[in-house]
């Protein structure tokens, strides 16, 4: 046990808590004192405890935690699908009262509508646009996510990675400010997952959305995020926020990357030995 304590002091010097942000971002999203208690069969289960999180405009934030820690619940609260027991979420200063097309939630690839074609899915949220505008928008996002040639295909004819890109395209097509992504690549094989991360970063650089990305994959969070929010086990609290100060494209064998990764591994209480 003694060695862990010693290591965490080392960690503090590696990952300074006083974050020196490269540029000061305008706050896009502020979760203030979020707590969540579920009642199941008369048992009160505390899932989230006093979560306080600010996300800047155009920032990519990963929420990292073990499975079942409540990070998905947090994302659902921020997106307005669930109301928290305590606290509130403000986006652009306004309290969140429910889901909103300006903020799109990306589920795992099972979120695409199986009864619609690729075009139909991407155009799903565009019902307020004229037909011509809609067609143009669909064509743009088909191209952005590399689904040309599959416009008329149904999701069951697509691979897992293509379905995931389709869902991202459907989300981006309505031009939201914020994307919420709940372990979007969790169901994909490891090779596809790696390509998808690259794709997502490319899209993020092109569109500059604010992204809150929930994952249990430490490597994924360090490869993607500007900041990684490390959650504790249930009831989840923010254990630490780690600033990933490596520019893109990130060299995943660089010293800094490994330092950050090892720091988070130890923060979660795992020695990185298999």
């Amino acid at each position: 046990m003694g060695s862990i304590i010693a290591d965490s002091t080392v960690l503090k010097s590696v990952v300074p808590e006083t974050v020196s942000r490269k540029k000061v971002l305008k706050t896009k999203l502020h979760a203030e004192g979020i707590s969540m208690v579920f009642n199941s069969d008369g048992n009160r289960v505390a899932v989230l405890e006093a979560i306080d999180l600010k996300v800047g405009e155009g920032e990519f934030v990963c929420v990292l935690g073990p499975s079942g820690c409540g990070k998905s619940t947090l994302l659902n609260i921020i997106a307005g699908f669930i109301s928290p027991t305590c606290g509130q979420v403000r986006i652009d200063g306004d309290a969140v009262r429910g889901p909103d097309p300006r903020r799109i939630f990306v589920f795992q690839e099972r979120g695409v509508f199986p009864w619609l074609t690729v075009e139909g899915n991407i155009g799903f949220g565009l019902f307020k646009l004229s037909k011509a505008e809609r067609r143009e928008r669909i064509a743009h996002y088909v191209k952005l996510v590399g689904l040309q040639g599959f416009e008329k295909a149904y999701p069951q004819e697509l691979s897992g990675g293509m379905k995931q890109r389709l869902e991202v395209a459907r989300a981006l097509a309505v031009n939201p400010d914020v994307l919420f992504m709940d372990e979007p690549f969790g169901a994909l094989d490891s090779i596809t997952r790696l390509t998808m991360r690259g794709e997502l970063l490319r899209i993020w650089r092109a569109e500059r959305k604010t992204i809150v990305f929930v994952t249990h994959d430490i490597e994924e969070s360090i490869q993607l995020a500007d900041r990684v929010v490390v959650m504790s086990a249930r009831p989840a609290r923010i254990q630490r926020i780690v600033n990933i100060d490596i520019s893109h494209p990130r060299d995943i064998s660089s010293r800094r990357y490994l330092e950050l990764r090892d720091g988070i591994f130890e923060q979660i209480g795992l020695a990185h030995k298999v």
């Binding site: 997106a79 889901p99 939630f105 099972r110 509508f113 009864w115 619609l116 949220g125 069951q156």
Partner: protein
């Protein structure tokens, strides 16, 4: 070529069965069944008297009204019950008690209410179709993925858009299977209803042919017609399942 053989095989089986039937009847003394030729003769005779079309149309007319009426009322009703879980749960035991009562058990009641005639038969078909369709619609709603509902809410759909653009397409494959199975049941019931409640139709033909002089060739002709028409109805509804935007619901994925 393989496809051609696959198509011919069922025809070959039918021919084989008819041949066996023909010779089996030919070489036995007791009169168990009319021969296939006699049955074919019966169909021709019905056609000559103008009864073939009249009876088929009469039966289809009753099924259409009873079944369509049930579908129009049961599907929205079932969808609403599925959507509002609480009312669905409250009504479910009642539905489950009514369901095992054969529609034929309602024959005396329907005669009491509507007399002997078309309305009685239509009412019986309606009863036979209504609860199965209600339950199908209820279960179909319960199986709609909450992820799809949440996605639709996220894109800012109104309640009516949610129903037409997500709920309806999500339940359509299951509804079509339910409609197909229920139409089969309705067709079974129309024959039984016509045996008692009316004086036309294929069910009436079967009972009447026996009562009016043991015309078993016409009895079997009626049975064959019922089978063929039932098969055609099933083929018709099955072709709906081939619609591409519905086919996702039938894959194992």
């Amino acid at each position: 070529m393989i496809d051609c053989f696959a198509r011919l095989r069922p025809v070959a089986f039918i021919v084989l069965i008819l041949t066996i039937w023909h010779f089996a009847i030919h070489y036995q003394k007791v009169h168990l069944l009319p021969t296939p030729l006699a049955v074919a003769g019966g169909v021709v005779e019905l056609a000559q008297h103008g009864l073939l079309v009249k009876y088929v149309v009469a039966s289809l007319f009753r099924v259409t009204w009873g079944f369509a009426g049930a579908a129009i009322l049961a599907i929205p009703f079932g969808l609403a019950l599925g959507w509002h879980r609480r009312s669905g749960m409250a009504l479910n035991p009642l539905i489950q008690i009514f369901r095992p009562i054969s529609p034929l058990a309602w024959i005396p009641i329907s005669i009491l209410w509507f007399g002997v005639g078309d309305v009685s038969a239509i009412f019986l078909i309606f009863l036979a179709s209504f609860l199965p369709l209600t339950v199908t619609a209820m279960n179909a709603v319960a199986s709609v993925s909450p992820v799809h509902i949440n996605a639709a809410r996220n894109f800012g759909l109104s309640q009516s858009q949610l129903v037409s653009r997500v709920l309806y397409p999500a339940v359509a494959p299951q509804l079509i299977v339910g409609l197909r199975i229920t139409l089969g049941v309705a067709w079974l019931v129309v024959v039984a209803a016509e045996m008692i409640a009316v004086n036309s139709g294929l069910g009436f033909l079967i009972v009447d042919s026996r009562n009016a002089g043991n015309r078993y060739d016409l009895v079997v002709a009626g049975m064959v017609l019922i089978g063929v028409i039932g098969w055609l109805l099933d083929l018709g509804t099955r072709s709906l399942e081939k619609v591409k935007s519905l086919r996702w619901g039938y894959s194992e994925d």
